[in-house]
Amino acid sequence: MEITHEYLVGQIQSTTLDVLSMMMGMEAACQDGFRQSVDSASGFALGQTQVGQVRCDRETVEAFVGISGPMVGTGVVSCEASTACKLAGAMLMTEVSSVGADVLDAMGEVANMIIGNLKTHIEERVGQLWLSVPSVVYGRNFTARTVGKFEWTVVQVDLPEGKLVVKVCLTEAKPASARTNAESTATV
């Protein structure tokens, strides 16, 4: 069964809203999802629609989760550092003023829950999928790149505390016999 852009948008929106409301007590509103065909996963957070390599010039936290199985890809949850502090503070019910281990761990878990629940829904259509352990990047002026060219489904979420962007790229896995040494599946 095909995983369409519209299906992904709907699932990303519902899983993200669930995580924000149940784990953080936050009210959020999702914008309409859009497609982006880029070879970079990063830098188009916060509503920008740039194509090609882009750089993130504000302090940003991005959490990446790999997906494998009959479909392969990556899920990314990103936001400005100040928003990440507020999300972590709400999750942990404590005041968080700067990005440290707690914030990075919390953002990794937010990505794990959003992409993990998305995975559960997709599995009903394509069969068992697996997730990687989340990896979290924090900084400014960095570029993240996905090997190969893929289409990303992007959903921006508006919170009183800032903006969150959830991005997923998924493609059918090639059978091992069809892959060559020079080729690579979607990885961060």
Partner: protein, 135 residues
């Protein structure tokens, strides 16, 4: 009311708990949720994976285990399996708390002896509901 974690007068006894999750944030949240759920907690032990949990449990048994499924080194289902095979630990109730929400995984956990299953994200009320029947 008499029960496993109640004394002769029906008062709750403090429960030592093991929380197993590779996310430190989730471990902190679950500790807080147990307090919010008014579970009489004694000592809280933490572990980042099944291997660490098993080592700590063999040294310090507890009355309740909350465990994630997807963890490095030893996942929650393998931990559950090993707990049920251990004569001193097999009767400790284990509640799985995980993003794995597919029916197959739930059935696998139940067949291995899980006392309950909660999907992430969760609320304090959902955790409390699962605990009520167990403790």
């Amino acid at each position: 009311m008499r029960g496993k974690y109640r004394d002769g007068e029906g008062k709750s006894m403090a429960l030592d708990v093991m929380i197993v999750d590779d996310s430190a944030a989730i471990r902190k949240i679950l500790q807080r949720v147990l307090v919010q759920a008014e579970v009489p907690i004694g000592k809280v032990h933490e572990a980042g994976d099944g291997t660490e949990a098993l080592q700590k449990l063999r040294a310090d048994p507890v009355g309740l285990i909350l465990s994630d499924i997807n963890m490095p080194t030893m996942d929650g289902l393998e931990l559950l399996s090993k707990l049920k095979a251990d004569a001193t630990l097999k009767d400790v109730p284990v509640i799985m708390i995980t993003t794995e929400g597919g029916q197959a995984k739930v059935l696998e956990a139940v067949s291995l002896g899980a006392a309950g299953y909660v999907r992430k994200p969760f609320t304090a009320e959902q955790i409390k509901e699962k605990l009520v029947g167990i403790i």
